[in-house]
């Protein structure tokens, strides 16, 4: 950020005055790469912004800003420090505020509700998700594309497992902020990928950290992406209420979704205007899990007893991770596993962008954006890779469904490596018996 930094933080649209019309953003936008319907970041961002009133949605020149997938690549490429994606997102929220939102968008954004409805009937719901007729019906009535990447519901939520195992949901007496972390699992781990949550906890505990899981809800990012700011603020406030006490007391909040953790770090303040002390404390305390593990390693505190995994794996760093500004911590960790070679996908965006790739009218765009990535992943599989890796859930589902190659979170690979090490270590003992 280089222009009126403080002011731009409070009001991203203010930064658009710094636009020098150089068009760099138009050369990196993955959406305008594949569709003529989207005029590109420069037009819907700094140019259209001049026509928007104080409500940001009022007098919007047209609806084309709604084609922005929110990947944020334009903001990072801009040499003048214009917060293009942030401006676009707020403009969409302005339009939604004035003109309302579809039932579809309100529904697919409400992941906590979907999980509450889906988990108890997971086997049935999952048949529905795989049933072509049901999906066709869903597309015709709701506008959720029949081939949109949806993960199957877990039969038991992560939180239910946590409760059953009687694991801590609050600090215990004598907790040490340097040895205890708060796990923000997000809605994806809770309702769709609880195994990832278990992998994460296993790794954190192996490295001497006590993990607590206090009450929490979906971070609200799906609402933010769909311009439903009031609903997003409800989620954000409840999360901040639960998490701020830990942040203030010096505990780190760690997440396995680079999308959720980016919402805690940035979107709450930049999009939702929640710039109070709670939001700042939580933002400063939030870590992506790979970022945290690299930090442990930098301090010499990471257990590096990784067993070899002799494989070359394609790794796609998601857009949200790149917006963290923390480098590529997963690549640093992969380098610690003997035999493992992670290959950066060198591709801008998988296309999914949260709920974007689910929408009937956006599905093809999302597929076209990700197509070169899917081809690379398929080629890697043909060359012997058993899976791909990626840090954000909807990107994983998109890559897995569109390439046909299983796609996992980086920590799942690390957890596997640790487990192999344990197995190798325990074998001699077994032989002794």
């Amino acid at each position: 950020m280089t222009f009126h930094d403080a002011a731009a933080r409070d009001f991203p649209a203010f930064s658009t005055d710094a636009c020098i019309k150089c068009n760099v953003c138009n050369t990196v936008c993955p959406v305008s790469r594949v569709t003529d319907e989207f005029p590109g970041p420069k037009y819907v961002g700094p140019q259209a912004q001049r026509f928007r009133g104080p409500g940001e949605g009022s007098d919007a020149p047209d609806h084309s800003v709604d084609l922005c997938s929110g990947c944020g690549i334009c903001t990072r490429a801009c040499p003048a420090g214009v917060l293009i994606a942030e401006t676009n997102n707020r403009a969409r929220a302005g339009i939604v505020e004035e003109r309302g939102s579809s039932l579809r968008n309100r529904l697919i954004s409400d992941t906590d509700l979907l999980i509450r409805l889906g988990t108890p009937v997971a086997p049935l719901a999952n048949i529905g998700l795989k049933n072509r007729l049901a999906r066709w019906f869903g597309e015709k009535t709701l506008g959720v594309h029949r081939r949109g990447p949806l993960a199957p519901f877990s039969r038991r939520t992560f939180r239910a497992w946590w409760k059953r195992e009687k694991r801590p949901t609050a600090l215990e007496a004598g907790s040490d902020p340097s040895r205890t972390v708060v796990y923000f699992h997000g809605c994806a781990v809770n309702g769709f990928e609880p195994d990832l949550g278990r992998d994460a906890v296993e790794i954190l505990e192996r490295n001497g950290l006590t993990v607590i899981v206090p009450p929490q809800e979906c971070c609200g990012l799906p609402f933010i992406s769909n311009g439903l700011y009031p609903r997003a603020r409800e989620k954000a406030r409840r999360n901040l209420e639960s998490l701020a006490q830990y942040a203030r007391a010096g505990y780190r909040i760690v997440g396995t979704s680079t999308s959720c953790t980016h919402a805690l770090k940035a979107e709450y303040r930049e999009m939702l205007d929640l710039a109070d002390d709670d939001a700042t404390a939580v933002a400063d305390a939030t870590w992506d899990i790979c970022e945290l593990l690299v930090d442990l390693h930098d301090r010499g505190e990471l257990d590096t007893g990784f067993a070899p995994i002799a494989e070359s794996i394609p790794y796609h760093p998601p857009c949200q991770l790149k917006s963290h500004g923390i480098g590529l911590p997963a690549m640093d960790l992969f380098a610690l596993v003997p035999g493992l070679r992670a290959v950066d996908s060198d591709h801008d965006c998988c296309g999914a962008a949260g709920t974007y790739g689910l929408k009937a009218e956006r599905w093809q765009i999302a597929q076209d954006v990700g197509a070169p990535l899917f081809a690379k992943v398929r080629a890697a599989k043909a060359a012997g890779a058993s899976r791909a890796a990626c840090d954000s859930e909807t990107c994983r589902w998109q890559i897995e469904q569109s390439s046909g190659v299983p796609t996992v979170h980086p920590v799942s690979i690390l957890a596997e490596s640790y487990r192999r090490a344990d197995e190798a270590a325990s074998e001699p003992r077994r032989r002794l018996v």
Partner: protein, 422 residues
């Protein structure tokens, strides 16, 4: 982040070239930049040295090396090596260069119909140079593409003097399939269209249909593909029946995007890291050494420790150096001393004339370390490259690309030699 051997700051030509060369020599490199820049605005060729009166780039280098304080005064012996290294890096790719330091600087037409001297160009622009020998210049525009105006360019070229130029200058415009129905058209969207073989075949046929009989060299907007440029360029020459050269349009410059992408791929393929979008916000020092820099992040900062830090953030235009109220100059990463003309002499009266302020920058020693007014290095493990360097007026002297790759090469080679010795 595990520490890197070298952190390069800036993603323009000098930063990319330096990081590519270092990564290629086995060093661990992290390139951090606050945004993308100069490659996307410029023509993608190599302006090495073309001050007024120079006959070749080599002659231009000698003339500039003779003026005290010019970066070439320190580095002129290394330019040929640097150009060779840069060309070797790009050989076999779609951004391979043609021409050399001893080729006569030839006037080539710009998108607005001016002439600029050039010798080393990307393969796709190479046919713009060389004697015309009775051939005509056909500017072949693309209908509905508003960043290229061939009639305007032809009028300007015809009105101006062009000694030894084409026998005839003519402009024609082709309507390419489907463009009339498109909502948005810029150089990048056109280049993406050209990458599609089916569309390309129809587009080139439509272009061939407007080529009048005669012996032409054909200038087209620089939109002949991003991924498949080499193939498309060859295809275009075959279909249009003559030598075809790209003319970079208004920004974004597709040849520059290709160059950026190729160098980016080089760096990451060799294990280097690139992070774009985050400004340097803090520097950790230890006396005259920099221990680490911190880049801005979504929360906290990212600490990047290294043995050496290469400053490639540019001058005023690249915002590596900022002028504040009261004409205070600030080098934005390390706060290095900035050398500038007297503040009463920053600007010329005529806005279209060169402005002395262009020459401001960082003074360096032979190792390209920043120095203070007494000549002492300010920071021992910082090197300064590209248009951050003081003493050149790259618009007027047309030496920006040459200084960029030469300073990048000098630094990369000396660091590689040092790590080999260690």
């Amino acid at each position: 982040m595990p520490r890197a051997d070298v952190v390069v700051i800036g993603a323009g030509l000098s930063g990319l070239a330096c990081a590519a060369e270092l990564a290629g020599s086995g060093a661990s490199v992290f390139l951090a930049a606050k945004g993308m820049a100069s490659t996307h605005w410029t023509h993608g060729g190599l302006d090495v040295a073309a001050p007024d009166g120079a006959s070749t780039s080599r002659d231009g280098i000698a003339r500039l090396a003779g003026s005290a304080g010019h970066p070439y005064a320190r580095m002129s012996d290394h330019v040929a090596d640097a150009v060779a290294a840069h060309r070797a890096r790009l050989d076999g790719t779609a951004v391979a260069m043609v021409g050399d330091l001893d080729m006569p600087l030839a006037p080539i037409p710009t998108a607005l119909g001016a002439l600029r001297p050039a010798a080393i160009l990307p393969m796709g622009q190479g046919a713009a140079v060389g004697p015309w020998e009775g051939q005509g210049l056909l500017l072949l525009g693309i209908g509905h593409f508003r960043d290229s105006w061939v009639d305007y360019a032809a009028r300007n070229l015809t009105a101006g003097a062009w000694p030894g130029g084409p026998a005839e200058i003519r402009a024609v415009t082709a309507d390419l399939p489907g463009l009339d129905a498109r909502n948005n058209l810029n150089a990048r969207t056109l280049a993406v269209l050209f990458d599609d073989p089916a569309w390309r075949a129809r587009a080139l046929a439509a272009m061939a249909a407007v080529v009048p009989p005669g012996a032409w060299r054909i200038g087209v907007p620089a939109v002949l593909g991003l991924e498949a440029h080499a193939e498309i360029h060859a295809h275009a020459q075959e279909v249009l029946g003559g030598a075809v050269f790209e003319m970079p349009s208004l920004p974004p410059s597709v040849p520059g995007v290709r160059l950026f992408d190729e160098l980016r791929r080089r760096i990451t393929a060799a294990g280097g890291r690139i992070q774009v979008g985050f400004d340097v916000v803090e520097v950790e020092r230890d006396g005259r050494r920099v221990r680490a820099i911190h880049t801005e992040a979504a929360s906290r900062t990212l600490r990047l420790a290294a043995d050496t830090f290469v400053l490639a953030t540019g001058g005023i235009a690249g915002e590596g150096i900022r002028a504040h109220r009261g004409r205070r100059l600030e080098e934005r990463v390390f706060g290095l001393p900035v050398t500038a003309p007297n503040d009463s002499e920053w600007f010329s009266d005529d806005p279209m004339q060169p402005h002395p302020i262009e020459s401001l920058g960082i003074d360096v020693d032979d190792h390209l370390r920043p120095i203070d007014p007494t000549g002492q290095p300010v920071l021992e493990n910082v090197r300064v490259i590209g248009s951050s360097l003081a003493g050149m007026r790259y618009l007027e002297q047309r030496c920006g690309d040459g200084v960029a790759i030469t300073s990048a090469h000098v630094v990369a080679r000396s660091l590689a030699a040092r790590s080999a010795a260690a």
